[in-house]
C-alpha cells in the first residue's frame, strides 16, 4: 500500500497532529475508498496499530483506506477544558481525508476502530456522532472511565472528563441506547465486565476472543473487520 505520514493542524484540539494514512496500491480513477480510522491505546501513539498488526496485507486485499490518528492521552473525546478530540476524530479527520485523498466521506463508509483508550474513543464517537460514522469496533476498550479516578492515572482524569459525579451528565459514560452499531471484542480477562455491559445495550455486539495476548487480539479483530465479519 501507499503509506503517507501526515502532519496537520487539528482544529478541534487546537494542536498539530500526526496521522498515518494507508491507501491501496494504484487507486482506480474516480473510486472513493471506504475508511477505517484506527485509534491507539493510552500508553501508545498513532504508530501502534501499524507496529502491532500486519495492517497492509489485509487492507490492500479488502480495498480499504486506513487512518491511524494521534490522540495523545485525551481519550478521543471533547474534553471539559475545550480540547475537542471527539470532533476531530469523527468530523474533521473524515472531511480532511476525503478532501486530500480518494477516500469516501459517506458516513456508512466510515468505521472507527480502537484499542484500550482508543476503543473507548471509538465507542464514544458512535455515541456522540451517529450521523458521521457507520460503525465502531472496540478491542479491549475502557468501558467505564469512572474507574480511572482511583487508578493513579496521570494526567488526572478530571482534566479530561471533569468531576467523577458529572461523568454521566457530560456524556462520558455509555448510554443504554445507541444508533450506531458497536462491535466489542474482548479477551478472557475482560469477558465478565463486557458481558454485563453488552447485555444492557442492544446496539453492542460482543465477540469473545480466546487469545491472551492483546496484539494477537488486535490482529484477529482487524482481520475479521477486513474480512467483512461485521
Amino acid at each position: 500500500m501507499n503509506w503517507i505520514q501526515v502532519q496537520t493542524a487539528a482544529e478541534g484540539p487546537h494542536t498539530l497532529v500526526g496521522i498515518d494514512v494507508f491507501l491501496p496500491g494504484t487507486p482506480e480513477p474516480g473510486k472513493r475508498y471506504p475508511l477505517v480510522i484506527l485509534l491507539h491505546g493510552r500508553n501508545a501513539d498513532h504508530t501502534e496499530w501499524m507496529r502491532k498488526v500486519r495492517l497492509e496485507r489485509y487492507a490492500e486485499e479488502a480495498g480499504v483506506a486506513l487512518a491511524l490518528v494521534q490522540g495523545n492521552q485525551n481519550f478521543f473525546v471533547n474534553s471539559v477544558w475545550g480540547y475537542n478530540w471527539g470532533d476531530f476524530v469523527a468530523k474533521e479527520v473524515p472531511a480532511k481525508l476525503a478532501g486530500w485523498f480518494p477516500i469516501s466521506s459517506e458516513p456508512e463508509d466510515i468505521t472507527v476502530m480502537g484499542v484500550d483508550m482508543g476503543g473507548y474513543g471509538a465507542m464514544m464517537a458512535a455515541q456522540h456522532f451517529p450521523e458521521a460514522i457507520g460503525k465502531a469496533v472496540a478491542v479491549d476498550p475502557i468501558l467505564d472511565v469512572a474507574k480511572l479516578y482511583d487508578s493513579g492515572m496521570e494526567p488526572r482524569p478530571e482534566y479530561i472528563f471533569g468531576p467523577r459525579e458529572e461523568l454521566e451528565a457530560k456524556g462520558f459514560r455509555f448510554s443504554k441506547e445507541g444508533r450506531v452499531p458497536v462491535v466489542l471484542l474482548v479477551g478472557p480477562d475482560g469477558e465478565r465486565e463486557a458481558r454485563d455491559f453488552a447485555a444492557q445495550r442492544p446496539y453492542v455486539r460482543l465477540v469473545r476472543l480466546k487469545d491472551r495476548d492483546q496484539e494477537e487480539r488486535m490482529e484477529e479483530a482487524f482481520q475479521m473487520l477486513m474480512g467483512g465479519a461485521f
Binding site: 501507499n2 503509506w3 505520514q5 502532519q7 493542524a9 494504484t26 487507486p27 478532501g99 486530500w100
Partner: protein, 252 residues
C-alpha cells in the same frame, strides 16, 4: 500547511521512494483544482532540503488552492542515468501519475504544473521540464547550468556513471541542445524563469544557458533571468529566487 511524507513504490525504479508534499490544511474548502509546484532538491540532498533550508512553506501558504510536491531522486540529477535508473522518467511521468492518483485535487493542466529546483535540481527542472513539456507548463531553474558544460575532471567516475563516456555536448544530457531543439518539435513550450546568485561558483555555466535561451528566435520560452546581488550558490539565493518565482506565478 499540512506536511505529508509519502512512501510509494516506483515501477520505473523498481524500489520504494520517498516524496514529501505540502497541502492546504483545509482541503474541504478548496474550490478549484490545486496548482502544483514540483520542487527538486540539490546534489547531495533529498526531499527534505527545500523545507529545511528555505521558507518555501511560509511562501506557499499565502496562496489558496496550491500544493508543493518535493520528490527524492538521490544523486541522479533527475536524468535517466547512463549506467543506472531512469529518474527523468520517474519524475516527469510516473510520479506525476502516482501523485495525481493519490491526491485527486491536483490540477492536471500543464499551465498549473510548475517544475523548479536549485543547483542539481535546477538542472533537473530543466531536464524534466524540457523532456515533458506536455506535463509542465512552467520551469523555474535556479543555480542551474548545463551539465554538458561542466568540468568533471575531478570526479570522472561520477561522470561516467551518470552521463556515460565522451563529450556530453549534443547528447540527451545536454540542456542547451534541448533548449535549441524543442521549439521546432511542434510540442508545447514551457515558460522559463531562470536565475542564480551574482557570486555563484557556476555563474558562468548559468550565463551560457541564458545565452542559449536568448538566442532562440521569437522568445518562445518567455524567458526571464535574475542575478541575485551579492549571493553565492547558497540557501539564501534559493530562498530569494523561490519567493520571487511564486510571486511571479501568482501575478503579484
Amino acid at each position: 500547511m499540512t506536511l505529508m511524507q509519502f512512501h510509494i513504490y516506483s515501477d520505473v525504479l523498481q524500489m520504494n521512494m520517498d516524496t514529501w508534499a505540502l497541502l492546504p490544511d483545509r482541503p474541504q474548502n478548496c474550490t478549484k483544482p490545486l496548482k502544483v509546484l514540483w520542487l527538486l532538491h540539490g546534489g547531495s540532498g533529498d526531499q527534505t532540503g527545500w523545507v529545511r533550508s528555505t521558507r518555501v512553506e511560509e511562501y506557499a501558504a499565502k496562496y489558496p488552492d496550491f500544493a508543493v510536491i518535493l520528490p527524492n531522486a538521490y544523486h541522479s540529477c533527475f536524468i535517466n542515468v547512463a549506467k543506472g535508473q531512469r529518474f527523468n522518467d520517474y519524475i516527469g511521468s510516473e510520479l506525476v501519475q502516482i501523485m495525481r492518483g493519490l491526491l485527486p485535487q491536483l490540477s492536471t493542466k500543464r499551465e498549473d504544473n510548475w517544475i523548479s529546483g536549485f543547483s542539481n535540481g535546477g538542472y533537473g527542472a530543466l531536464m524534466v521540464g524540457l523532456n515533458y513539456p506536455e506535463t509542465f507548463g512552467v520551469i523555474g531553474a535556479y543555480g542551474a547550468g548545463d551539465k554538458a558544460d561542466a568540468d568533471f575532471g575531478y570526479r570522472n567516475l561520477d561522470k561516467l556513471r551518470m552521463f556515460g563516456e565522451g563529450d556530453m555536448k549534443e547528447t540527451e544530457y545536454c540542456t542547451r541542445k534541448l533548449i535549441r531543439e524543442l521549439p521546432a518539435s511542434g510540442r508545447p513550450i514551457p515558460v522559463v524563469d531562470h536565475g542564480c546568485g551574482e557570486f555563484d561558483n557556476w555563474v558562468g555555466m548559468n550565463l551560457q544557458v541564458k545565452e542559449e535561451f536568448e538566442a532562440v528566435p521569437g522568445d518562445p520560452y518567455q524567458y526571464k533571468f535574475t542575478l541575485v546581488p551579492g549571493e553565492k550558490h547558497s540557501s539564501k539565493a534559493m530562498d530569494i529566487l523561490i519567493e520571487q518565482f511564486l510571486r511571479r506565478m501568482f501575478g503579484e
